[in-house]
């Protein structure tokens, strides 16, 4: 079985769920080798099937943008000739993927929702045009570099050897052109991360700026909170929670849209959700064309009742 490199995202030593999903996908197409930047090697990696763990530790990886990481990963790809390289489809992951693909002259696929292997050939599946089309593609040159979206599979616990190998590469000065002068971590909301959550409850113009009922309902379900562009542009909710073309693209098991009309900009960010539910006063809102279940009514009365009902059922 040939090696599959998996770029791990582990802020503060905690491996993200999408990174664990990548290890599971990698096992389907080869032997997963985790690539970790930083001084810590989380034990979770071996618990989710990493056979090898390449650890790259250098202050430059944090001080500059992706340049040094991309240069190092490219050298690792050149050394190991892996069957594929999987990276999380985050902003940073996609940037690293692009640079690695070009440096190693390998084909690149971004935002894959599935990766399968048939013999030696790897096929990726993507969802495009606001989720209206599914595209299957193959990489025809080099080691396929694939950026995979969160929720593409469920992480499976399976023990791997987890052999740690420290590797270091010289970091070219040319990659140090842009320096990070300040990094202010955002306050944790205590809710699941938007793109990783199994359930997303979001609010739009219909909230009138008051997200409290949306948040209460989300918390009753253990869901992440999202917002439409209209709500974000009005300053009612931070941009990092925006679902849509210029915000996050989410694909949860359940998406609940409250007071959101369902413009194309929003649909582009949630249309591939498995089950869609909407609450809206306007029975002609385009969001109702997408739903599995819809309530025509005021979210200010429907949501509190729904929250109470969920709390009651959960006992």
């Amino acid at each position: 079985m040939s090696e599959v490199l998996v770029l791990i995202d582990a802020p503060e030593g905690k491996v993200t769920k999408p990174s664990l999903e990548l290890l599971t996908l990698a096992r389907r197409i080869g032997e997963p080798s985790a690539v970790v930047f930083g001084s810590e090697v989380p034990s979770t990696l071996a618990e989710y099937g990493a056979e090898k763990i390449y650890q790259l530790d250098d202050a430059a990886y944090d001080e500059y943008l992706v340049g040094p990481k991309a240069a190092a990963l490219s050298q690792l790809v050149a050394d190991k000739s892996p069957a594929a390289v999987l990276v999380p489809a985050t902003f940073e992951g996609k940037e690293i993927a692009a640079r690695v693909a070009l440096k190693t002259e390998s084909g690149l696929i971004t935002d894959a929702v599935d990766v399968t292997a048939d013999g030696g050939a790897i096929t990726t599946t993507q969802s495009v045009f606001a989720g209206n089309f599914t595209v299957d593609a193959k990489i025809t040159q080099g080691a396929p570099v694939i950026a995979v979206k969160p929720n593409s599979t469920s992480p499976e616990q399976v023990s791997g050897a987890g052999t740690v190998e420290a590797v270091s590469f010289e970091i070219p000065d040319a990659t140090k052109g842009a320096k990070i002068t300040s990094n202010k971590p955002k306050e944790a909301s205590g809710r699941p991360e938007l793109t990783e959550a199994a359930i997303v409850v979001s609010g739009g113009r219909g909230t009138g700026g008051d997200f409290s009922e949306v948040e209460k309902f989300a918390d009753s379900l253990g869901a992440a909170v999202g917002a439409s562009r209209a709500a974000v542009d009005s300053g009612w909710y931070p941009h990092s929670f925006q679902v849509g073309q210029t915000g996050k693209v989410v694909s949860p098991q359940l998406y609940v849209a409250n007071g959101i009309s369902g413009a194309i900009q929003h649909r582009a960010g949630m249309q591939t959700s498995k089950t869609i539910v909407a609450v809206n006063k306007d029975d002609e809102a385009p969001i109702f064309e997408l739903v599995d279940f819809g309530v025509v009514g005021d979210l200010k009365t429907v949501l509190p009742q729904a929250t109470d009902e969920v709390v009651k059922r959960k006992g």
């Binding site: 692009a98 059922r313 959960k314």
Partner: protein, 259 residues
């Protein structure tokens, strides 16, 4: 004096029914095209940087004849000059070939900064700024929410998922901007009239020292096997709230085992 090249894309209107042609490339005939909305923010940001100091903005596009519309729109907004790279051989190019054409064209221009939108509204990969930067040997700062130029130093704010970063760079730089940089202006009547007199260069592959074997579908490193329209969603159940809307909603969620 800051010279900015803004790379823009002519895309099928995202609000229309976009589809693929029989060779699995994006159908650019059946749907009206326009300057990608996300690139308007890049043009706007470049104009603001130049207006705050001194400089000029050149807008660059690679695409078929109709793509001249995207250049014209940017000139109407206030860009100073345009470049349109058009060559039949470019059709079907993947991101790598397209980044090669863009990088060669940018090298031919006199520039300090290269601006992009955060992604295109059709392909939407969001990797072009990074690929062009890699080809030019430059750093890229992507997904900028704020860009200011202070003498030789470019300062950028980036609002990521986990953190807000401040970044500083000197020297040539590639930047992609999000819609958070601020609403793009509408062309004024004066702007529309002035755009007619602005210079637009038309280049083909030979002007860039490239030949047809380096671009197009045959040079691509990936191949699309199939494109399938998503099966239409079956009509869901819609109820009108008569005092029990919330309870009915939860009943549905329970039937799907979400509660």
């Amino acid at each position: 004096m800051t010279k900015i090249v803004v790379a823009v894309k002519y895309v099928p209107d995202a609000t229309a029914d976009r589809t693929f042609t029989s060779d699995n490339t994006v159908d650019r005939e059946g749907v009206d095209g326009l300057l990608s909305e996300l690139d308007e923010y890049a043009v706007e940001q470049a104009l603001q940087v130049v207006e705050a100091g001194e400089g000029e903005v050149t807008v660059l596009t690679v695409g078929p004849a109709d793509a001249a519309d995207a250049v014209r729109k940017a000139l109407q907004m206030g860009a100073d000059a345009g470049v349109h790279v058009e060559d039949d051989a470019i059709a079907g190019s993947d991101v790598f070939a397209t980044s090669l054409v863009l990088a060669k064209a940018i090298e031919k221009l006199d520039y300090d900064l290269v601006f992009f939108g955060m992604a295109s509204t059709d392909g939407g990969m969001g990797v072009m700024p990074t690929l062009v930067a890699e080809r030019l040997g430059l750093p890229a700062v992507t997904f900028a929410s704020e860009v200011t130029v202070d003498g030789e130093t470019v300062k950028i704010r980036r609002d990521g998922d986990a953190a807000t970063q401040e970044i500083e760079a000197t020297g040539k730089l590639v930047v992609s901007v999000t819609d958070q940089t601020g609403e793009a202006r509408y062309p004024s009547f004066k702007g529309i009239m002035a755009a007619k007199k602005k210079p637009v260069e038309e280049w083909d592959l030979s002007d860039l020292g490239l030949d047809a074997s380096q671009v197009g579908a045959d040079a691509a490193w990936t191949a699309v096997e199939s494109t399938e329209p998503r099966p239409p969603r079956t009509a869901g159940e819609i109820v009108t709230d008569e005092g029990d809307g919330g309870a009915k909603l939860v009943e549905f969620l329970a039937s799907k085992k979400f509660v």
